[in-house]
């Protein structure tokens, strides 16, 4: 066991302890410490990515030297490494970009608490990515849920608290379902580690025993995680949560939190149930249908929104629908499309949320879309970033959304018409709908209402961290668009070693 192979564990423990340390820090020190940890985590994950790529296969890392199936376990492969690295980048950029607004929203003495939440979230993210144990995953799912609730409520105002409460309620229900599923599964198989469970489940399915039970288990776990990742029709907590939270929080929530759960779901499908069982239970088709529905309905409702942040929030619902559609296809190509979209969407959506801060300021403090007119001239970099994000959403070439759409189409070219035709139709429809609301907003930015031309003094001032963050995001999106093949190849080989 080489040294670098311990990095996954480090990536969980480091932020966990740092969160504890954060309680005693104050002010600028807290901020510096948080960024240092996050930066360090990002570098570590990058380093790990390089190493595991060279390594060429996944490996398991028994915790505490207790062998399976008794102890806890970590499993790391290329897919996990890619995911972690990207998520860390996005987390870092989101926090840097939204910092200014955060410091407005959150009371000074509460900031260290906020940073602690972020660090907990990081730990939880790592854990969900790397863990090979179901119960551990549950624990960290809960931690992440609590941390996220904290992020939402950090705003302190009434609506945010309400949104946070609503978020908690729905997520608690989801967690309960998830836990119930795990318990049942434990009962059926006697294991909590994923690989042994898989063997047992396969054996049970082969024998034909406990057919209904297995379906129920799969259903519970899937529904639980789907609620948490805002699959239609379980998305009702999203608009309030993302819409009222601070931009950084919203960015992190939509870009990371729901995606972490999605990652976990994919892992469970591959490593606990196995794709064949998943297909047989029919849950796959259910996800497919709900994914398609989410794509459409999320966008339709987004068109009707008057508030900028809520519009983007509903867009998230739609985009998560894409991912579920990809999972619901059941094929390797479908999973690949879903996995790539996981990364691309995170990169894009976080950027969009970060831009809302300056855009709202440029509109005189209003987040109403009608007041957005002309804001493009008062906040140039922000509007440019928003435009880049928007066109990436509709699949403009050279940005992250394009390879994502290519993957989806390619996933269905050769399969049966029952899956192919709805996917193609919904993809086209979804592009149209996305254009309707995103590009409407972009054009609004650069055209006037009844007001006069913007004057130089009215330019919105943003800090250097913000500018760097946006630049970083744009670069990330462009990189995803221009160098997608490498990432796709990595994801493919990562998926092949995923189970």
């Amino acid at each position: 066991m080489e040294l670098w192979q311990s990095l996954p564990l480090v990536s969980i423990i480091l932020p966990l302890f740092s969160a504890a340390v954060m309680i005693v820090l104050r002010g600028k020190g807290a901020r510096a410490f948080c960024f240092a940890v996050l930066g360090g985590e990002t570098l570590l994950s990058g380093f790990f990515l390089i190493k595991i790529r060279a390594f060429g296969q996944s490996y398991t890392y028994p915790m505490g030297h207790y062998p399976a199936p008794f102890g806890n376990e970590i499993r790391a492969g290329l897919f996990e490494a890619i995911a972690l690295f990207f998520f860390m980048l996005i987390l870092l950029l989101s926090l840097a970009g939204g910092l200014h607004k955060l410091e407005e929203h959150v009371r000074k003495e509460r900031m260290p608490l906020y940073y602690a939440m972020i660090l907990l979230m990081t730990a939880s993210l790592s854990a969900q990515i790397f863990t090979n144990d179901l119960f551990t995953s549950y624990v960290f799912v809960e931690i992440m849920t609590l941390a996220a609730a904290g992020l939402i409520a950090a705003h302190g105002k009434g609506r945010a608290i309400l949104a946070s409460a609503r978020y908690m309620v729905m997520n608690m229900v989801a967690s309960s379902l998830f836990l119930l599923g795990i318990v049942l599964l434990y009962d059926l198989t006697g294991h909590l580690l994923m690989s042994p469970i898989r063997q047992q489940v396969a054996a049970l399915a082969a024998e034909g025993q406990y057919k209904l039970a297995l379906i129920v288990v799969v259903g519970l776990i899937t529904v639980g995680l789907s609620i948490k990742s805002a699959l239609f029709p379980f998305h009702s907590w999203v608009p309030d949560a993302y819409g009222t939270a601070s931009p950084a929080s919203a960015a992190i929530m939509s870009g990371l939190v729901s995606h972490a759960y999605l990652f976990l779901l994919m892992k469970i499908i591959y490593r606990v149930f196995g794709t064949e069982l998943f297909a047989v239970t029919g849950i796959e088709n259910v996800l497919f249908v709900f994914g398609l529905a989410g794509m459409l309905i999320g966008s339709i409702v987004a068109i009707l929104q008057q508030d900028l942040k809520r519009m983007i929030a509903y867009s998230s619902v739609a985009q998560v629908g894409y991912i579920f559609m990809g999972i619901g296809l059941g094929s390797r190509a479908g999973m690949l499309a879903a996995a790539f979209h996981l990364l691309a969407h995170a990169a894009c959506k976080s950027m969009l949320f970060i831009t809302t801060d300056a855009l709202i300021r440029a509109s005189g403090g209003s987040s109403d879309l009608r007041d957005l007119r002309g804001a493009g001239f008062r906040a140039r970099l922000t509007a440019a970033a928003f435009a880049v994000g928007s066109i990436s959403m509709v699949g403009f070439p050279f940005l992250g959304g394009f390879p994502s759409k290519v993957n989806f189409v390619r996933a269905v070219i050769d399969i049966d018409p029952i899956h192919r035709i709805p996917v193609l139709i919904f993809l086209v429809l979804s592009t149209w709908l996305n254009t309707l609301y995103f590009l409407r907003a972009v054009i609004s930015l650069y055209t006037m209402g009844k007001q006069d031309q913007p004057r130089r003094e009215e330019r919105v001032r943003t800090g250097i961290a913000y500018a760097l963050s946006l630049a970083g995001f744009i670069a990330l999106n462009a990189g995803l668009g221009l160098f997608s093949q490498r990432i796709i190849n990595g994801l493919l080989s990562g998926l092949s070693m995923f189970s």
Binding site: R373, I391, V394, G395, F396, P397, F398, F402, P403, K405, V406, V409, R410, I413, D414, P417, L424, L427, V428, T431, W432, T435, L436, L439, R440, I443, S444, Y446, T447, M448, G481, L482, S484, Q485, I488
Partner: protein, 489 residues
């Protein structure tokens, strides 16, 4: 001239436009600079057309089998030649038109659009064409919404909604093709790998129809036509060059590339999707002509006329015959020459006489003789009066429809004939009003007897009229050149 020169030819105007935006020159200097950039690009394009070595120039790969490649074949040469010919005078018109307005961003995006349009002409495979097709929407969007008022916003939104939805459909078609093709890029008989296609022919033909409507969005085929009349609120230089020449021709060009050079005419001929495509084209021809008659605003009327004429070209393309292909390209070129002159006149009516509605054009024949004469000339040409070039392209399209042989050809002929009569009605009637009705004065009318006394304007109008006449007189020569270029007969 080595083929890699195509890359700087494309990026020169793009870089030049961006540079002029960011570097703070004086206004005059910027104008001269951009004009020089455009002229240089035209010269480079001409060199590439006449002296190019016909090889491919690879830019880079976005994904493993989606590579950006330039390669100039006969069809591309025709389109590129048309762009190179018309962009410099169009820029001059823009300068004349936008005098007195703060239009720096306008000139820059106008220049950048040239590069993107050229890239479409130079595209060596369908992915390259698609990528720059999307870019064209984005780079022309600021031009459409330039006035920045409410109407501009609506126009921009309509434009982008239709364009991107169409591009999404085209996207699906492109990906299907990339799955089933040989790596050739474009070839006159299509590039499908028939071994791999076996068993999926029907599906691919329906995908063709989807891509036809998708790429055809920029060519304003029904039902994706509504953006073209909507963007007529944009400044006239935009409607004249982009929405009568560059953007819409890019759409037609894309449809032709997809039909003849990717799927292949033989593969598509005789199928139900082809029949639907022909019916859509014929319907658009007639529908748009009828709508044109009902428009009271001159630019909107010309916009619907463009919609109708674009479907002439699409009809030629989807007849799936060599003659149809030739007729399609002939009309592409001839229509551009005629329509750009018509729009130039419309723009001059707007800025010199402040008149935009057709009923307001009464009696302008005395006050703006040069412009009215040019309008009448171009209108006669569009109607198909020989010896101007309108007759040439319509005759060829009729011949192509006749020789196609099946009921599709007959349908096409019927549509062309009825549309010819309708065209005369909607485009000649304003000319009638200009000359045979008394002028109705308005507040704000310029002083003096002549309102279009400007050597620049007259020079541009004469230049365009001469082109129209020359193209008509040189008809057989033009046909020959196109036939050789397209590999027809």
């Amino acid at each position: 001239m080595p083929s890699w020169w195509m890359i700087p030819t494309v990026f020169l105007p793009i870089a030049g436009g961006m540079g002029a935006r960011l570097i703070p020159f004086s206004r005059r200097l910027k104008q001269i600079f951009l004009l020089a950039v455009i002229t240089a690009t035209s010269v480079l394009t001409a060199l590439q057309i006449f002296r190019g070595d016909g090889n491919s120039a690879v830019l880079f790969s976005v994904m493993d089998d989606l590579t950006l490649v330039f390669r100039l074949d006969g069809a591309g040469k025709i389109f590129a030649g048309l762009l190179a010919l018309l962009w410099p005078p169009a820029m001059l018109y823009t300068y004349l038109y936008m005098q007195g307005r703060n239009a720096e961003g306008f000139f820059c995006f106008y220049t950048m659009s040239y590069g993107v349009a050229l890239a479409i002409a130079f595209a060596g495979n369908l992915f390259t064409l698609y990528a720059f097709y999307e870019c064209l929407t984005m780079v022309t969007l600021p031009l459409v919404a330039f006035n920045k008022d409410r109407a501009a916003r609506k126009a921009g939104q309509t434009y982008v909604n239709f364009s991107i939805t169409g591009a999404a459909m085209a996207f699906v078609g492109m990906l299907f093709l990339s799955h089933y093709d040989t790596p050739a890029g474009f070839s006159p008989g299509g590039v499908l790998d028939m071994a791999r296609v076996a068993g999926h022919e029907e599906m691919l033909r329906w995908v063709f129809l989807l891509a036809f409507i998708g790429f055809g969005t920029k060519a304003a085929v029904f039902p994706m036509y509504a953006w073209l009349p909507a963007v007529s609120v944009a400044p006239t230089p935009v409607t004249a060059l982009l929405h009568a020449v560059a953007v819409v021709n890019a759409g037609t060009f894309a449809v032709i590339r997809m039909t003849h050079y990717s799927f292949g005419a033989a593969f598509l001929a005789g199928s139900v999707p082809q029949a639907i495509a022909v019916c859509l084209s014929c319907f658009t021809i007639l529908f748009a002509a009828v709508m044109a008659i009902r428009q009271g605003n001159l630019k909107k009327r010309l916009a619907f006329s463009t919609v109708s004429n674009l479907s002439y070209m699409l009809l030629g393309a989807v007849l799936m015959t060599p003659y149809g292909l030739e007729g399609s390209f002939l009309h592409l070129v001839c229509h551009s020459l005629m329509k750009i002159l018509l729009f130039w006149c419309a723009g001059l009516f707007l800025i010199r006489a402040k008149r935009s509605e057709i009923q307001e054009l009464r009696g302008l024949g005395r006050r703006m003789p040069a412009v009215c004469a040019a309008y009448t000339f171009a209108a006669a040409a569009l109607t198909g009066v020989p010896p101007m070039c309108g007759f040439l392209s319509k005759w060829n399209l009729m011949m192509a429809a006749d020789q196609e042989g099946s009921w599709l050809g007959i349908l096409g002929m019927a549509a062309l004939i009825i549309a010819a009569v309708l065209t005369a009605a909607y485009v000649l009637f304003p000319a009638f009003l200009m000359y045979f009705r008394p002028l109705e004065g308005k507040t704000g009318d310029p002083e003096g007897k002549r309102w279009d006394r400007s050597p620049g304007i007259v020079a541009l109008l004469v230049f365009s009229a001469v082109l129209i006449l020359a193209a008509g007189l040189a008809g057989p020569r033009l046909e020959q050149v196109f036939q050789t270029a397209l590999g027809v007969r």
